[in-house]
Amino acid sequence: MRVVVDFDKCTSNAVCMAVAPEVFEVRDDGYLYILQEEPPDALRPKMEDAVRQCPTGAISVEG
């Protein structure tokens, strides 16, 4: 499973960070950082939650 963020769409709302802080981190510089691009499969439900809750539809999961 690979997490992909479209940074043209991302507006750093940090909703993904609330859902899965082990994968997504918005830092004080205002940008989103992906901490694990290929998170373990156990995190799949959280990744799907992050995809659904992202207000700008910037996150997708491949594989």
Binding site: A14, V15, V26, G30, G57
Partner: protein, 395 residues
């Protein structure tokens, strides 16, 4: 009847779409019919007061991705009534659609101001067509008056200011956004407008509009007259339940639902009927409160929750979210989690800064938090609210 059969979704916006997508993801293999009053496939409303209004987002990007969704969309079609005994929905085309299970997701209508004449140049902003009609009028040098300093009004003001237009906001209450964020932060929001050269007329209502065919000015209760080429009225919404009158459903400022989003009739859940989004007023067990939430995230999450209830009944999780919304105004990202409470404390930065976080408490418990341009710090409060942490210990 958990799988198969006919599911009708009334409302083709975010809540209705998420319900349809969830049904398919969960393996529902019957028919899904989505009734939409507007002529458009589902689109995203947040950009309508921001990028889509400014014209900086290509129009096609406003549509929500449908993927390979297998559903029959009946667009430009309004549901006029529902017969819960016959299990059918009547449409304005004269047709009826039968259902085994039903999702109510008709959203809300903009509230109007009584006694105003019908003039050109006066708009509400709810739909994509509203947005495009307003945008066509935002020509260089035009004077915009926004009536109502809630979220929509404040965002429209910020967008128009960004286009270099002359903007005045008129609000009947003494503080902007007070219903959504409380008085302390509301006053800070007033400063945000003032800092950007947007005039605010607070604590004074609109009594009339001047002009023959086309609006020329807005008349206020104190007798002042504000010249206007474009007027945008954003004074709140009312849930779209008029078509459900006489259905037997409990209608109390929305479709009254239980904690599984099941619509109630005489206080009892109606089998196979759920509601989601702006139209649903449900019991949120996290707060022990009956609430109706008019924001994007709630429409998305409740559409999903309602669909899970249709498929799994009370085996589905109860719908107990921490409400979340955001509002982009000028360069500031305003974000809110939870509910407004009577106790307010600044927990990060200061109200004099461009960035800060405020926490809200009620009866010794943290119930909400708001941030100006502090997204990561705000999100930490979302879990504290979900855990029912004590206030002020949590902050």
């Amino acid at each position: 009847m958990a799988s198969g059969g006919r599911i009708v979704i009334v409302g083709a916006s975010l809540a209705g779409l998420r319900a349809a997508q969830t049904l398919r993801e969960e393996g529902f293999d019957g028919t899904i019919t989505v009734i939409g009053a507007e002529p458009h496939l589902p689109y995203d409303r947040p950009p309508l007061s921001k990028e889509a209004l400014a014209g900086t987002m290509p129009d096609e990007e406003v549509y929500l991705p449908l993927g390979a969704l297998d559903a029959d969309f009946r667009l430009a079609t309004r549901a006029t009534s529902v017969d819960l005994g016959e299990r059918s929905v009547a449409l304005d085309s004269g047709q009826t659609v039968s259902f085994d299970r039903l999702v109510l997701a008709t959203g809300a209508h903009p509230r109007s101001l009584s006694g105003l004449p019908d003039l050109e140049g006066v708009f509400f902003l709810r739909t994509l067509d509203d947005c495009l009609a307003i945008r066509a009028r935002l020509t260089p040098g035009c004077r915009v008056v926004v009536v109502g300093a809630g979220f929509i009004g404040s965002e429209v003001a910020a967008t128009c200011q960004g286009l270099g237009l002359d903007v005045t906001v008129v609000e009947a209450l003494p503080v902007p956004m007070v219903r959504g964020v409380g008085e302390l932060v509301g006053r800070r929001c007033a400063r945000l407008h003032a800092d950007h050269g947007v005039r605010l007329q607070l604590g004074v209502g609109v009594t009339g509009l001047a002009g023959d065919h086309r609006v020329e000015a807005v008349v206020l209760a104190d007798g002042s007259v504000i010249p206007a080429d474009v007027v945008v009225i954003g004074v709140g919404v009312t849930p779209a339940t008029e078509w459900l009158a006489g259905s037997g459903l409990d209608l109390e400022n929305g479709v009254r639902c239980d904690r599984w989003c099941r619509a109630l009739s005489g206080g009892e859940a109606v089998a196979g009927v759920v509601a989601a989004g702006d139209v649903a007023r449900w019991e949120n067990p996290l707060f022990g409160e009956v609430m109706r939430v008019e924001h994007w995230t709630n429409a998305a999450e409740q559409g999903r929750a309602a669909a899970l209830t249709l498929l799994h009944g009370q085996e589905a999780p109860v719908f107990d979210p921490v409400p979340y919304f955001w509002s982009d105004q000028y360069e500031t990202k305003i974000q809110f989690v939870g509910r407004v409470g009577p106790d307010v404390r600044v927990v990060d930065g200061s109200l004099d800064d461009d960035r800060f976080v405020v926490a809200y408490g009620s009866e010794g418990r943290i119930v909400g938090a708001l941030a100006f341009s502090r997204p990561a710090r705000l999100m930490a409060y979302r879990s504290m609210i979900a855990r029912r942490d004590t206030f002020p210990d949590a902050v």
